[in-house]
Subunit: 317 residues, 4 copies
């Protein structure tokens, strides 16, 4: 709300919210806005051009569909939908109605991810070897999805954005300790050309960790999103095999040079993203984090869930 | 050598070493010791009671077997052997000859692992939920084994010591970028009673990480082996499900209290381990890190390799 | 404003602000509030009971005086006034008018300072040996005061609160590199009973540091205000002189035990402070961070400035 | 001894050591070396060319003098001598005898200090603003000197090496809590051209800190000697005053760019230093860390002690 309210070129008309307490707080903070318990008051309003669906995953499809049917552009929280079929349906509906869908892959608008993308595209890292993310903390437990669906969409959307190809196969392992959903889980993604990605998510960690290692042929980087400054550190380190003639003659050379932490753009990512959506709606440009991007992430999550069911089968996409 | 030379109750008689440079250095540093290029000079010596096999994995079996056959107690680097069959053979041979085998699971002799073991046995952590280790750095590449065989034995031997049951099934994923062996790999171990363990090993990481998260029902801990002090931090944090009546009423309570870093024993682990082996040899006591402990680790590694071959099949032990 | 607006038992009536941009922003954010360029609109308003003076130090005296003369309770940013005489005058004026002054020593309302105070009062640390604070960062340069007057009031108010006695003498050193005011400065305070305090403040530091070491006879602590969790770490470490018979027989024993990080109260300190001021005004209770507390800090700053002038003379208070 | 023994072009002939236990250990480790309780056995030996004086400060003068008088080059631990007069006498004696003195300012041979020196000489940092070192830990208490004489010589020798001019005046403050010597102390040094330096030393700190901030007109750096890698971080940060026309128009611009951690030379500093001394003795070259460098540090320490006596008077050098 804070970000939506301050957006140039747009105005917040109405908020639908089930919780009476939250409604009261919202009404006090935004006296000029309609605050209602009923989502259809928003969806059916003729004054409204865009709806943001910020609700449990299992409600995304129904709410977004109703909004699209009533001619609204839709901003949907991640993950896009509960399954791929729902996502495809929404994408088609939006196409028919000439409406835009944006999926809230907020991290793609951070200075860190933009810089990493730049480093990859410029070839600073060389060919990619691996992407390894740890995203753990204590709670918050979700009631309708497991820890992979809750936390991994961040990493999956970032990978989708950075690696630019889709994974070929996925293995997911995990365990349920408390409420019937996996609260600790691990996911390996095999991408083409020997790129391997791994995600470690955990709702039962005593400490919060948000660290990603990215290894390339030429350089490697560490992205620690919890650092106040220097979130991204690029290491001029690498390995070169200089002789493949035989096991005994194999010479692995380690190259170790300077480290540098590039200055990152200081923007509030969500503000950036919403402002981009307003622009896309005005200009007709298709957002890069559209329904299709959201769908690709949902497909990876579906494959992960299928793998999880059998404690780690390789699932091809 | 430094540790062996300073041990009470023992004396170093001979060193066998292939590299001429290393031999020269050894001879200068230990003028009274026989330095030879030939392992059999050591193995056949009648003056010698114990042999330490500190060599590539694929040589362990042959060297240890020769030593046992010649009546020597054997200290073997981890991993014990290249496969389970070799390990079983050595164990049987030692039994027949009434000799001791100790596998160098050095971490079991550190103040950190001893304290964690104490915390688990006293019930401080409550029932175990998960064990999650990250052990990554740049190199050193091994020429005859992959990164799992190189780095995971540390974690596997610690798990074996702490969890006290064997895993039921293992999933391993990974990728080979350089020399035909996996240089990035991930391993999930399913133990009984919903205990899940995970190991992240990587020879291509720009930074060195040695961090293990251990989650229990009552408390959780972080063991960062690279911290000079406060390697082990215990968090009085946890989760309680208070109401299971329905999805909407499910209340997850987070408990968050003090953190404490217990004072750890300050010993050099390897010295401690070697001194314990000398005691075991004298007293006839069976070391807890004997051939059987080494074999259990080798079996987990074999299962991991089998899983790796198919990019992540679940392999039952 | 955000904190004042959300306070129970009070209402924000008017904001006086010189900057037109800031006025516009304030008016948009708080439509129901009078936003004026003229401080006297606030000070003379008969609807208003309390005025918060949030402005450059050299304006505190004049604005607070006018507010008190017009029957308003006054909340003043730190440092209280530009000199001790002004502070004394305001205190007397408030007394005569039966009004309250609160000086914004926000840190006294943080979970960290409250916990440290508790540890000192309970005797956990034993007799205090030293208090050593580093408070450095890049800018923001003030236009009318040096770095000591800008940053040290935090530490001085905390010391005043924790140590409970006043310093006997002060030495301050520093240097001016840019705009005629010291931008790097160091301050030593001698308290009774061998308690020594030191403050390191710097507007030209590439990194932000907010770390305080506190040493006691029994235990020592580190307060790192930039840590997300575990801001306060208490070390069961100490030194005991066991034999004073002679220089050669002097035995210093180091005691080293557990470290623990107590759980801290999670409150927004400013909200807590303002709410406390509302309570003091209602109940007639004198706030502990009143004008006298503010005056004690100003006296220390005056002594520091006097010492700075001569590059570090010892100045008695 | 380990470093001396492994030096090319030299041989260790004799060790004089008071403690019987240490003598026994030395004899076992170095069977071919004469181990004696009597320093004069070393000093009078005709086989010996160089003596290393590694003993309490108050013994340096006497031992070094005897060594020089007997024609030995002398390597002396820091601080060089107990007072400036002793230092001058030793320097003159060495000159007369055509012998070399080297004072063990080990840090000057580290990769970190060499890199910082390079950055200063190349102008990367621009004009120097300040040098601010924190060097604190628990113990070891010295029996004959205060914490400034124990720990500050490191910083003073580094400053002397980097800044290349001598301080004009010194202020030192501190307190004695335990054994009659200051165990907590702070030292400000005023150098020409507004360069200010500060040293914070403490034997009663619960944590070990070895951090130096160095601020320049163009860039700033942080040297954290306890980091395994990335000991030196250079920040492309700075401040520019763009308008000096009036107090209100004063515009301070903050410049904030990349950070980089240059790769440092990986050498054992002490080995490097001793090898350099052997070279100096052979070639006749005067070591830059000679008696005069040692004397400059002793003069700063004497000034600091004088200032400490009066709790912080400004003492001119």
């Amino acid at each position: 709300m804070r970000n939506l309210a301050s957006l140039e070129g747009s105005q917040v008309i109405a908020i639908a919210e089930i919780s009476p307490t939250a409604r009261k707080r919202a009404q006090k903070a935004y006296p000029g806005v309609l605050v209602t318990a009923n989502a259809s008051d928003v969806i059916l309003s003729t004054e409204i051009d865009m709806v943001a669906v910020v609700s449990p995953v299992w409600t995304h499809y129904e709410l977004a569909k109703a909004a699209l049917e009533n001619g609204k552009h839709v901003f949907v929280e991640k993950p896009f939908t509960s399954n791929a079929q729902q996502g495809e349906e929404l994408i088609n509906l939006a196409l028919q109605k000439n409406l835009k869908i944006m999926v809230d892959h907020t991290f793609l608008f951070t200075g860190a991810v933009r810089k990493i993308s730049e480093l990859l595209e410029e070839g600073t890292l060389g060919n990619l070897y691996y992407y390894d993310s740890t995203r753990v903390n204590l709670g918050l437990f979700q009631h309708d999805i497991n820890v992979l669906w809750d936390l991994a969409p961040h990493d999956l959307s970032i990978m989708d954005y950075l690696i630019k190809t889709s994974p070929e196969a996925i293995v997911a392992t995990g365990e349920r300790h408390l409420n019937g959903y996996e609260d600790v889980a691990f996911m390996t993604l095999y991408f083409p050309e020997k790129v391997i990605a791994h995600i470690n998510v955990n709702w039962l960690s005593p400490v919060k960790v948000r660290t990603t290692l990215i290894g390339g042929e030429k350089r490697m980087l560490v992205w620690n999103d919890l650092e106040a400054d220097e979130k991204v550190k690029v290491y001029d380190k690498g390995v070169k095999i200089t002789n493949r003639e035989g096991v005994y003659e194999l010479l692995v050379n380690y190259r170790s040079g300077d480290m540098w932490a590039p200055q990152l753009e200081q923007v509030e990512a969500l503000h950036h993203e919403l402002s981009y959506f307003v622009d896309c709606i005005s200009s007709g440009e298709e957002p890069f984090n559209n329904g299709c991007a959201g769908l690709r992430v949902v497909k990876m999550l579906e494959a992960a869930n299928e793998s999880l069911k059998t404690k780690g089968t390789l699932v091809y996409l």
